[in-house]
Amino acid sequence: MENEKKFVNYTDIAAAIEALLFVYGEPLEVKKISKLLNIEEEKTEIALKELEERLKDDKRGLRLIFHSEKAQLATKPEFSGFLENFIKEEFKEDLTPATLETLSLIAYFSPISRAKIDYFRGVNSSFILRNLLIRGLIERASDIEGERGYLYQLSFDCLKHLGISKIEDLPEYQKFKKIFEST
């Protein structure tokens, strides 16, 4: 590539990733970043970690969000007070108790099938799942349909709405994940 840049170290790569994510805006796959920068995925991962650490500094207004092998640049939640105008329409409406119940099951136990959600709630959840998909709060885990149908997980938009930078940041995530696995 004519405009190819030579990287000297991880700090260099981290700066390029910052520029890339800034321009793209949406979540970008780690694989794709590596391809664009023409470096190994392993190096991309290290540089992303470096960028993430650097952004944690109080001097910075941005943070990295990681979810399903993608990364996105976003503002830190402590500045949400200045950014009320930018809340998406879909997130303004309140969720019903049943919708929140379903969403929280998906949050803690994703990727999770509809059968499993129905089992826990004791009631058919297909309408609620459709509603959550349309609102963009959840997404199908991948295009691979499992034996018992699709698996669901939170979307990037939902993570941003919650103000967390990765799913593991949910309160007491590990504890509940363990409890869930034992059921």
Binding site: T75, T96, E101, N124
Partner: protein, 230 residues
Amino acid sequence: MYQLNIQQFFGPIEKLLELIEEKKMEITDLNLAEVTADFLNYLKTLVNVDSRVLADFVVVASRLLLIKSKALLPSLELTEEEEQDISDLKNRITQYQKIKPALILFRELYGRNNFSVSRPLFYNSEPVFYPAENFNIQSLNQSLNGIFEIFKQIIVESQKIDETPLIKLEEKIEEIVKQIKNGISGFGELVKEKSRMEIIVLFLALLHLLRDQIIKAEQEEKFADITISE
């Protein structure tokens, strides 16, 4: 556009757990028997709920009734399948109880309004016309056919639900009272040629009437018909 049924109520497992926790009780057969009446009362409040969802509630209610019957009649012997159903219900409530704190934490976090904002795709770029190779009239037509193929299934499924008449407990209570007045005296006669779903609701109605002492019922022996009278 047909409207999705956005559900304002709790799931049956969540509701049962709530009833038990309200009374600060453990999840045992005896305590489940204790909250059966409350659960049936909750079921009565579910108006305008689609029958698929109502059926799920009725399944839970019928298991509760089984537990309740066993508590009232210790001599009643349950089949292996019934025993299995009861232990499955207790298991589910126990599991729900364990994960419930996570659901509460999540609700709190969701309502905090402490959010991150990202940038839209290629924010500072001006639109430039970039068609792709696979973009033509045929691929558009094919895609649309695909969408409506899937969409048709959803519509059919939701219409099936809409067409199943809602079986309301209140109506069934009235029906029993009316039938007794008409001279019917056996539960068997009452449920003749009814759907499974209707039989369950009729049985629920019967229990309501018994509880409120509006009617009397007798059963000579196990599996015999239930005689009902005013």
